[in-house]
Symmetry: C2
Subunit: 441 residues, 2 copies
């Protein structure tokens, strides 16, 4: 008999079908056993005799043959897509027997400490509320690609192994590359700029790797990063406008396709006006000083508490849960960042801040070879092995800019997760690469 | 004045417009200069006075204001999308000046040796015929994703850094991971199998890394790999059928969207019948023996010359440029490959061979924990750090299978490139990571 997807049982009342999936819950009621069985489409209640049910338990993989019956009016479960039917089993085939679970997976919440959640990742990922996080990640990344394509951007593949660290940071992973040293890419920045010379508008989705020596709730060593870059901008506001467009495009699709998940997490898509507001860093610091008395007006960046305060202000005063903070000081940004000719010492760059932390970063880049080389020298960035990067500017590069953001951060902030590890299928940090590193010799 | 995309000049005859792009060719005819200028949409001929043209040369980035004029009937260029118009320039603004090019980029072919092609990658990628290769790669990857989504597959992100080599090979890159040793993923195999337990049907696009100690025309150290895996298969033929579907889906979109490129390379999409034919490895060897007298009937795999011969046979006898070769011996496949119960010693696995080489590999996997662990031991594969992998089978895994292929190989074979490096934007091998490693100390 051919398999019927569980969701299709709704259209097969009175018919004999075979569904295949995992047992998620077993409820014994005297001689009758109720099983919740799910596949990729939905979950359904199965009614079985005790004899047929045997010792079936959660995560057993089964194919169940039976009759699809309409439930009596008073037993319809409105919380279930298949809540008006049930399957009356006549035959059960076990495809794969699961061991006894180490904890209960049947509840709406999976109430585990983070280490346990990750130690049993292949199991905990199967919990509906955990699994749903990665549907949001899928939609986020797909929406990014779709948004960029609609604006004529070409997708390209940036490399992971690079000859030299792009931004001169120390937190880079080193690879033994035959008889040489190579590094893992922290960002496709150089490559996306090169590709502006080729396709004019490009985007790329990559794993980026950073040897973060800190174990915070916000940092991973491996991140799925979304990057865009484009040429022939009139000015840096074009870049900000494109970022505004992309973020809203993602919100729209997540809102439309992941409504159930948002409800499950008790959250809503951030409220943003027609145009996300912007404020210069200095003005933000002034606002914070006036509101809180905290004087960080000389600082080159926002502290975490400042980020939270400016978000509060933005929500209250501008009706926006997101805000662009712009004009970071030249020395606080990478060497390739464009300086504002009308505001020397400050860059045409921005961070998008929302719900208390940074979501995205971007800006206009230097497209002039001499300025770029001069800055690199000043910043102490060695471009000896970055011939290809310099080549792109040697042979004609239009005014350009772009932006970058991590998919995990977006998912974390949209769903209100407290730890970015929850937004990564297989999170890597100082202490864990699937297994806890402390357990290894 | 707002920029007009070059392709839109076709609809602006008689109007004054500004186009922005790169100069690709300059032709001096006495007092008149003809420039070919291109942007992301198209290329157009620009007529300029010598004075206005100044020393403009290829790769200069310009914004040109002028009048769109209809070309006289006899000067229409049918090879150009904008061949019925030309732009009569009145003003030229130079956005970025290019250095003198090290070689001519104006011809239809870019006739360079591979090392030069790669030493000047940021420039050579701008040549129309080089650039076109990466539009084919983009469409290939996008078609893969689209095909999988239509079949209810969920996209997921597999990690790059792994605790342990998945298949026990020696050609793995090692990473200094804080105070530990970690490795770069050669394949998302373990993770996609884990994810079958979560979403049932999954796919993933990743950079995979392999310390290939050979410098052949077919090997790269970094590849963009396309992977799919799905559960509840009835048998291994479901996996082959899915691979058949995906490859044809890619062909269909590349054929439809990259027709001009196929013409440029003088190639056609491979001819395949309704169903791509299949043959057991042993039968293929028998066929080869009969046709050529070459007796490799005892070999566990096809030699390159065998691959070419079986392709010839498939084309002649089956009308198919692609063929599935199946039932490789158990010992020649990874430890997780499913053995054919009806043909012991041989696996339910396949390679898709086309145009003389391997395109894709796949098969059914072992979904039983005990068999898996026993095989791992026999194969000498250490699963000590692969707890998460084993967990997936401990807690219920349906019969499943999948396949994997490199996007560069597909593009190479479709376009008839002679070296896989041409199908990688920034190819990495033993000798090069952007720069030639031999030039480094």
């Amino acid at each position: 008999m051919q398999r019927t997807l569980i969701l299709n049982c709704n259209n097969k009342i009175g018919e004999n079908v075979m569904v295949c999936g995992w047992v998620s819950v077993r409820r014994d009621h005297g001689k009758i056993v109720f099983l919740d069985v799910y596949d990729r489409s939905a979950i359904v209640q199965v009614v079985v005799t005790g004899e047929l049910a045997g010792d079936l338990h959660p995560q057993d993989v089964v194919c169940i043959t039976g009759n699809v019956a309409k439930r009596p009016e008073n037993l319809v479960n409105l919380n279930l897509e298949t809540g008006s039917v049930e399957l009356q089993a006549s035959k059960i085939e076990i495809l794969s027997k699961a061991e006894e679970l180490p904890f209960d997976m049947g509840g709406k919440e999976l109430d585990l400490q983070l280490p346990t959640l990750l130690d049993f990742r292949s199991l905990t990922l199967r919990h509906p509320k955990v699994k749903a996080i990665f549907k949001v990640q899928e939609v986020t990344i797909d929406a990014f690609r779709e948004a960029m394509k609609k604006k004529d951007f070409t997708e390209f593949q940036a490399p992971v192994i690079i000859p030299q660290t792009a931004e001169g940071g120390a937190d880079v992973f080193e690879v033994k590359y035959f008889n040489h040293k190579a590094f893992l890419s922290q960002s496709p920045q150089f490559y996306k700029q090169i590709m502006v010379g080729v396709f004019e508008r490009v985007f790329t989705v990559n794993k980026t790797l950073r040897a973060e020596p800190s174990v915070t709730t916000r940092h991973l060593t491996e991140v799925t990063t979304l990057d865009a870059e484009f040429g022939f901008i009139e000015n840096w506001l074009d870049v900000m406008e494109m970022a505004d467009y992309v973020i809203k495009y993602i919100f729209e699709r997540v809102g439309r396709e992941c409504g159930e998940t948002l409800k499950m997490f008790g959250v809503t898509i951030p409220t943003v006006p027609e145009k996300i507001p912007m404020i210069k860093l200095r003005d933000a610091q002034e606002v914070i000083f006036k509101r809180t008395g905290r004087d960080n007006r000389k600082e080159p960046d926002l502290e975490p508490e400042d980020e939270r305060e400016i978000c509060r202000w933005s929500k209250e005063e501008k009706g926006s849960e997101l805000i662009f903070v712009t004009h970071y000081p030249v020395k606080k940004r990478p060497f390739y960042t464009f300086e504002d000719p009308e505001d020397p010492g400050y860059t045409l760059s921005f961070d998008l801040i929302g719900r208390g932390t940074e979501w995205l970063t971007g800006g206009q880049r230097i497209n002039n070879l001499e300025t770029l080389e001069r800055n690199a020298k000043e910043w102490g960035v060695d471009l000896k092995k970055s011939e290809l990067y310099l080549q792109a500017f040697k042979y004609g590069m239009p005014p350009e800019g772009g932006f970058s953001f991590g998919s995990e951060r977006i998912v974390m902030h949209v769903l209100g997760l407290t730890n970015v590890r929850e937004a990564s299928l297989f999170p890597r940090d100082m202490e864990r690469v699937d297994v806890r590193l402390s357990t290894l010799k």
